[in-house]
């Protein structure tokens, strides 16, 4: 083994700190599994709120899933609402407080399985809110059951032989559906499996929030997140498994953009 460099303290001599451990808006430890992608999504969301200078007027609406435990550690005003109903609650908040920056944090089980009507109607109404979907294709919080976004062939606790379209139906590509609805200002899909994906997804979150701040209508960012526990793979294999399964069914990229030349 080659030389090991000390990493228990900052370097001696002149150096610039280019990345902190985490944004100051995360106050405590999350309790999610090793290799989970959701804490990475939370971090880039909170960093973006800070970079846009909208922390003081940000209001989050959090659904139900593993990420629901983030309400304990995120130093932003949050409301935890009924399963799947975050876009409806966010609608009310935004209409009463138009100056607030309102975002939802939902999983695929929450947004696509349980609350499909809420997100579609909020999009069709052109509500000026930003929805963040953490899509890992399983109900992680309840033990890894199949959701509406589980891709064909994917093994879950309730589809042990892989999702079969004949008996389980086909996955719902919610971002593609929402991108086709009038009144929608911004839709994008990113991943947090690689450093490049994280950086790209962060720009998408920023574009979505800027769309809301400009009053250009509903915005949605679908973030593919690793769930090695629910996928029956080791934590180090999470990003590769995601590339080979979910990212093939859900191609990352911007699907609808309305803030263009004027920026």
């Amino acid at each position: 083994m080659s030389e090991v460099i000390a990493t228990d303290r900052p370097p001696e001599g002149a150096a610039d700190r280019v990345a902190e451990f985490r944004p100051s808006l995360i106050v405590g430890e999350h309790s999610l599994c090793p290799g989970c992608g959701e804490p990475v999504a939370l971090r880039i969301l909170l960093e973006t709120l800070q970079e846009l200078g909208i922390v003081e007027r940000a209001i989050g609406v959090v659904g139900h899933g593993c990420y629901g435990s983030f309400v304990r550690i995120m130093d932003v005003d949050v409301l935890q609402c009924l399963h799947g109903r975050a876009p409806a609650c966010a609608t009310g908040i935004k209409r009463v407080q138009p100056a607030a920056a309102v975002f939802t944090l939902q999983g695929d089980g929450d947004m696509v399985s349980e609350g499909l009507a809420e997100v579609l109607h909020a999009a069709a109404r052109g509500e000026n809110i930003t929805c963040i979907l953490l899509n890992n294709g399983v109900f992680g919080d309840t033990g890894g059951q199949q959701t509406a976004t589980t891709v064909l062939g994917q093994r879950t606790k309730t589809s042990l032989d892989g999702r079969d379209p004949v008996s389980h139906g086909h996955p719902i590509r919610i971002a593609d559906i929402v991108a086709g609805i009038d009144g929608v200002g911004y839709v994008a899909r990113g991943t947090v499996g690689t450093a490049r994906g994280v950086a790209r997804t962060k720009r998408m979150v920023r574009s979505a929030l800027e769309t809301q701040l400009a009053g250009k209508g509903f915005s949605l960012v679908e973030i593919l997140t690793m769930c090695p526990t629910g996928w029956f793979v080791g934590a180090p294999q999470g990003p590769d498994y995601m590339e080979q399964s979910m990212a093939r069914a859900y191609a990352p990229g911007e699907l609808r953009v309305s803030l263009g030349d004027e920026r």
């Binding site: 090991v4 460099i5 610039d16 990345a19 451990f21 090793p34």
Partner: protein, 70 residues
Amino acid sequence: MSGALVIEVERCKGCELCIAACPPRVLEMSREVNATGYRYPILHPGCTGCTACQLVCPDAVFEVYRLSSG
């Protein structure tokens, strides 16, 4: 460009995402475990301070520095 890291090894959950994410491949998992029983990354010479490890880390155990030259 050369970089340096501070790694809070006691908060690491050993997922190894940083190992594959590191472009110069200078991170390696330890043989020892932390108080929670997880192995954690250790740094070999060659860090560029690119922040890839910090970007992918779910447990936010990395702080990244770039050393000033000269």
